[in-house]
Amino acid sequence: MNVHFKLTAALLEDAIADLRRPHPFAAERAGFIGCKAAACRGGALVLAHTYIPLPDDWYLDDPRFGCVFSADAMRAAMQFALTNDASMFHVHLHDYRGVPWFSRPDLRESSKFVPDFWNVKPDLPHGTLVLSADAAAGLCWYPRQKSPLRISRITALGFPTRFVGRVE
């Protein structure tokens, strides 16, 4: 099954600008994107609507990891999901050019916290994205499937429209 993640170029720009901001102690920032979903021939669409930045004090100082967000961050994301009947996608940035991918800690941690969104919205897909300066990749946990799917396509819509993530 193919999952196509779409966001506007403006939202992508806002997310990257936020994720690039330096943090007092975290090496990397993170955010969440609230989305809606729809079935399409051959798979599903995940449609990004709201970027949720994390305030500086929603990070935990853990030198073992580039970024650790607090329970407050997770609560805010859960609340958004509940209030808006939304799919939630975690997002962070590897600020170089080229196709990014998740580090082993990224994969390990996201496989723990992403399925937690099913506690509030069990029938919706949730996931995680990693952005680079000019590309993106992502994983989607589809309801009732234990392992995540690699997001097949990520499109940033605007003038121009850019196909920033495409699985060959």
Partner: protein, 266 residues
């Protein structure tokens, strides 16, 4: 077969692959949609979803690209005519032919990366835009009119509805008054005069906008999203309405609830 697209290589070294993989929807295969389908096939678009419930008839022959006299005699479905034309140009094209209103197959529409709207009537356009906005699909709409003037005048437009940017209502292309008037006329919208050269100009502009949207061919000019056609003076100009409203966020499709399928089931 190499070199088919060599004359359009300035569109970018990956453009051939991009066109081959992108899926375009063409809703309506009359005078405008048939031109668009032909041009998409020529530039190498490899995946198309085409929607039209109608059949070929003699009054269509004056403007429907790809339609033959034999099609009109045998009342071939318009999707059959279009698919045949597309594959005669690009035999590798994958064509989903939906011989029905597009509303009969939302999932096929949603699978499109770009949709060309080539239908009559404001209500139909409004619905198509709403569904494209729900699926975050850029919609390029074309239309022409012949007005009783002195003696007649031809006009038309190409309008783009881009997610996150002003919509048809924002720029005044669709107005509540037009929707209400059309509803009171029992939804009649068809049967308007149509001519091949005006449709061709509008279709070509729409395809050019699509290519400009997805390839790094040239610097994008935001005004290009609403182009008005003067069919008497043969000019195309950016419509002032987008220039005025273009920087404002869209106020009609802003809620998260307006995205996706409200009855989504995994």
């Amino acid at each position: 077969m190499s070199g088919i697209y060599s004359r359009q290589s300035f569109l970018g070294k990956d453009s051939a692959t991009l066109f081959r993989e992108i899926r375009t929807g063409v809703v309506g295969l009359g005078g405008g949609g048939s031109h668009i389908a032909q041009q998409l096939a020529h530039i190498g678009v490899g995946r198309l979803a085409i929607f039209d419930p109608d059949f070929a008839d003699f009054p269509n022959l004056n403007r429907t690209v790809g339609m033959t006299f034999a099609d009109a005699v045998s009342k071939s479905p318009k999707v059959v005519v279009a698919e045949r034309m597309i594959k005669s140009i690009n035999p590798d094209a994958e064509v989903w032919s939906i011989q029905d209103d597009w509303q009969s197959d939302f999932q096929a529409l949603r699978a499109c990366d770009i949709v060309f709207g080539c239908i009559d009537g404001f209500s139909g356009r409004a619905q198509l835009e709403e569904s494209c906005r729900r699926a975050m699909i850029p919609l390029i709409d074309i239309g022409m009119d012949v007005h009783k003037d002195d003696p007649y005048s031809i006009s038309g437009q190409v309008v783009v509805s881009m997610p996150g940017r002003p919509c048809f209502r924002c720029v005044g292309f669709i107005r509540q008054k037009d929707l209400d008037d059309e509803g009171r006329r029992y939804g009649e919208a068809g049967g308007n005069p149509q001519v091949v050269w005006a449709n061709g100009t509008l279709a070509s502009t729409a395809v050019g906008l699509f290519v400009q949207m997805v390839t790094p061919w040239c610097r994008i000019r935001p005004g290009s999203a609403f182009v008005g056609y003067d069919g008497d003076g043969f000019t195309l100009e950016h419509d002032m309405r987008l220039t005025v409203t273009g920087k404002n966020p869209c106020e009609h499709f802003e809620r998260i609830a307006d995205l996706g399928d409200p009855f989504w089931k995994a």
